[in-house]
Symmetry: C2
Subunit: 636 residues, 2 copies
């Protein structure tokens, strides 16, 4: 699959790239010292620690997210708990539906995620891997098996059709293609569902089961009414949250792309479902051109991208509404700002049966990596699903009550009951009869009103009454009247548009900005934009003389005072080598401390990539903040 | 206990204060909508969500931490996983020792934390609460019971002696004083230990138990070698981490002060144990005067504070070493910077039996609140404990190898074995005999060398050899030689000094900055410093005229562009009332949009508290960043 290219057009070699990231401590497998010693079960994989550059990069990416989305639109940021009582996820549907299909290796007992198993086996067969062809297929059929694999592979590749298969479909495919575990060639059990939320218990006894949230959203929904109140009852508004979420992946592979614990930024934009979900600032993004892979294209089995402006996409109803379109545009701007390669970015619409159980529509911003197209930022229309189910379950109000500009007048048939006579007549059945009358629809009421006028009584169904669940009601006891009702307020449950970014952005971005010099393949370069670069400035002294040490300390303290991170390389290597070595950390700026610095405090400021940084404001900012440094031209 | 005062000297009323925090959505009990509906078990308490102002305040406090500690000292920030395999916490001692003592109500089955139970009952008895006096004490003994309670209470109060009691001691106290559950007056079971780490499972089968970390430290320790390498093998250095930790409190009370999930900032400063743990920058803090409550004072049953400079404290060995002292000073500066009331801050040394199982010495920065003195930032010397146990368990190297400036020469008795004859002589016992010889100490080797010279052979103990675990070795097979060894490197396991700040800072700080105007008791004011205030600027338009709306939007967009958060209050209330109302959110700056603004773009900038902000640079910063606004004198 690693047919992607680096920035300079060379083939991307994942081994070299990953070796850089681990060597420079962008990340490391968590508890590696335990894993190396053999004291950890293989089930404990899928957990990664971020070292200093990875941690800073992650926190910069999410800080840009915070400024770009949360601050810019005055969203209400909240920090809700990760621990969540079972009741909440029962209501949201996660306890029942948040699951993947898994198979068990018949001999080793290893668990495998069914769709990944099939994909991997088919891919291996395409490559001619003999161990992957299944024992049922003997040599004469080998050609067929390959053709078969190719056919299936094409079906499930790119558009990820297999992600939509249910257990029966996956099982059928495993059976028909004789899919086995690549590791040992053993048969596997039919797929069974496995719930992905981590379980634990609150308090000392087992009466209060709880889960680690798989998304930050539920806490935001449960606080909706309070947030609306904090927002002075003004709609629309958005809440936002940045925090860890957890998913108990069946058999995590793919390094940082499939992990059990990850940082997540989620926005819940609450909008009135009436009026077509317009957005006030849509005009700021309507000219942005996106590469879209819509549902219709995928249904036809294709992956061709349609390039169009957001205005066109909303007009043609490819993107359902302005609010969804607005956030697609904002996500696009965010991704470009942090350094994503525009040519490796597409927006893919979810298939109807692929969407999460709560979603009404969903688009993913996908980034092309050596693992294929990877979902990095989702944008879902969750409709009124969550607010409705939680409100129904708890009886709590999660609605908006708005004054109507024009009072609404409705004509309505009402049921009038003669209370004084009603009770004595029906005695113990009084409540059931009244409930049955109130349950009648408008049309029924109108019809029964006629019957009552003609016959003087009506017969209605009242379950549980003797002898035959039917009751006669006379006109002395009930009447139906048509009246005009005036409503001054309107109650509605808002719909939710949810842009949701996850930790995978970090890995995919790193692939996009990675390249290497033709003469130095082993040493990579990360062309990270200034704002997200983990370390902003490399300080390189020309000499190791004692006088330099004090200057270095002064310069670096001054930078840190302004919140600018820096790293000193005072090793004996040549200036050029030191810069090259620190290219691997993606440091965009360099300061050379030379003998002039000692004399007159001047330094050489150097922009590392000999390229112009897009955002001129950034450069201006730096110079403004470092007024006492005189900049010279870099000459390295 | 609420005998603390507000900023203006009025008695602090917790009810009013908490009502403010909840009303203005600083925080709320998590899942309140579920709790209200009665569908949550009472065991699910101790979980809180931060609303917009609480979330921003929390993130500002930790951002100051990051700049004050991490960036200022070039610490290596990492982000390690919360999920941790059981093996790691077995080694660290948490699985065995991270526990509290709990009692069970004999009738209701409720669990109670033993030390809190005793404290609460004694306090209730002192107040004369009849239900708290125990049934064994009849009316005639009532006086005695009160005297008893007073005596015990004094013993355990303030210096928190009871936190050091073990299960037997707690049980004895419960028995002797007839301590019962205040809720129902039932007897309670003897205390049993309860482990506070949340348990879960990684992957689909139960072979890989894991825990949610109760501190961020372990991940930093496990990565020590990689971090040292990233730091170009230079000592000393520190790693740091800001993230969530979890503790399964037995029966959480006290609102935000005892929660099951909290944000934590931890620094692990690695230092050479030799040379007295000096710190290069100690001279920057040595004149700071701290209020210390040291171990000796507490042992004498007193709580008097000793005020002295850090230099004196280290000189007198009250604070063990410079590095510990340096961080106490830095913690002091941090707390003052974020707005803590200096008169409500003390540093308390842990008693020997009170310290966590890993600590060699420990000081807590405690803040005085209506709940008493609350531990908010710890500073522990964890010695070489953690690195040693993990290294021992895994066989992985967690040491520093340093070149010696002067090679170290050691005289050493070495064992020389004649391999050619040794094997044939001892056959299957060869390895055991050799091991026994190598296990001999230096003195033994010297002595045996004499014996060998005199007798021509020696007799040594070799367990497992026939007939009597003794073996004769002749001088043809072995000799002992004294030689001079030169060591060019030194290996050592660093000690760890750990400043560790937790979410409780937020609540305690809010109590410190809270007050109310004499004529408006119900409406509070939070005097938060500019840097930590959740919202920086309140925008108040003088009119609701259409022309104002555009100006408001322009001003607030401009502020947000600079990362300055703002809130608009365009309600119809008077300017003064609007300012007062937003005092509850601790907004330090105000901008009034008046008719001049519409004319000539001038605004009125107002510093809300009519006090001088300490840090002039902050003001300068604001004006620098808002160059196009002309400031006028506020006249509200």
């Amino acid at each position: 699959m690693s047919d992607t290219k680096t920035l300079t057009g060379d083939p991307f070699i994942r081994g070299l790239f990953e070796s850089l990231l681990k060597r420079r401590l962008f990340y490391t497998e968590a508890f590696e010292i335990y894993r190396t010693s053999g004291s950890l079960h293989s089930d404990s994989r899928g957990l990664f620690d971020y070292g200093p550059p990875g941690c800073a990069l992650q926190s910069n990416i999410f800080e840009v997210w915070r400024r770009h989305f949360v601050l810019e639109e005055d969203m209400l940021e909240v920090d809700c708990t990760i621990l969540t009582p079972e009741e909440v996820f029962k209501t949201s549907g996660h306890v029942d539906k948040f699951e993947d299909w898994m198979c068990k290796d018949s001999k080793s007992g290893d668990f495998l995620r069914a769709n990944h198993l099939i994909e991997n086996v088919l891919e291996a067969r395409l490559k001619g891997d003999k161990t992957a062809r299944g024992v049922a297929v003997d040599d004469t059929e080998k050609g067929d098996a390959k053709v078969d694999a190719k056919k299936e592979k094409r079906k499930i590749k790119d558009i990820k059709a297999i992600d939509n298969y249910d257990g029966t479909e996956l099982g059928e495919l495993i059976e028909r293609l004789d899919i086995r575990n690549l590791d040992g060639n053993n048969k596997v059990s039919p797929p069974v569902p496995f719930n992905l939320i981590f379980k634990t218990t609150l308090g000392p006894n087992s009466a209060s089961p709880a889960y680690l949230r798989p998304e930050t959203a539920q806490g935001q929904f449960l606080n909706f009414k309070k947030l609306l109140d904090y927002n002075q009852n003004t709609m629309p508004f958005a809440s936002a949250s940045i925090g860890k979420s957890f998913r108990n992946e069946i058999s995590p592979r793919s390094g940082l792309l499939r992990v059990r614990e990850f940082l997540m930024a989620e926005i819940e934009h609450f909008v009135d479902p009436e009026g077509g979900k317009k957005h006030q600032r849509f005009n700021e993004v309507n000219n942005i051109q996106l590469n879209l892979l819509d549902r219709a294209t995928q249904l036809s089995g294709k992956t061709d991208l349609r390039n169009m402006t957001l205005e066109q996409a909303v007009e043609k109803k490819i993107v359902d509404n302005e609010t969804l379109g607005y956030f697609l545009g904002r996500i696009y701007l965010f991704l470009l700002y942090i350094g994503v390669d525009k040519s490796k970015l597409r927006f893919r619409q979810h298939m109807a049966n692929e969407m999460a159980h709560y979603a009404a529509d969903c688009w993913d911003a996908e980034l092309l990596t050596s693992y294929g197209w990877i979902e990095c930022v989702g944008c879902a229309d969750r409709s009124a699903y969550d607010l409705t189910v939680h409100s129904k379950k708890t009886g709590g109000s999660l609605i908006v009550r708005e004054p109507r500009l024009e009072p609404l007048k409705i004509e309505e048939w009402q049921v009038d009951i003669n209370k004084a006579k009603f009770g004595p007549t029906f005695r113990k059945d009084e409540k059931s009869v009244e409930a049955a009358l109130q349950a009648l629809g408008q049309t029924q009421r109108e019809e029964l009103s006629e019957v009552l006028k003609e016959n003087g009584h009506i017969t209605i169904q009242v379950p549980g009454t003797l002898p035959d669940d039917k009751i006669d009601v006379s006109k002395e006891l009930v009447s139906f009247e048509k009246r005009t009702i005036v409503q001054n307020t309107r109650d509605y449950t808002p719909n939710v548009i949810e842009p949701s970014g996850i930790g995978r952005i970090l890995y995919s971005l790193l692939e996009h900005v990675y390249w290497h010099r033709p003469d130095d393949v082993a040493r990579g370069v990360l062309s990270l934009p200034l704002f997200v670069a983990p370390t902003k400035v490399l300080i390189v002294p020309l000499s190791n003389h004692q006088t330099f040490i004090l200057v270095i300390r002064r310069v670096s303290q001054r930078l840190r005072q302004f919140g600018i991170s820096c790293r000193v390389d005072d090793s004996g290597a040549s200036i050029g080598k030191r810069y090259a070595r620190n290219d691997e950390l993606g440091i965009p700026l360099g300061i050379t401390i030379d003998f002039d610095t000692i004399k007159d405090d001047s330094i050489t400021l150097r922009e590392r990539q000999h390229e112009t940084i897009d955002n001129q404001e950034v450069w201006d900012d730096i110079f403004k903040r470092l007024p006492e440094f005189i900049s010279q031209e870099g000459d390295d």
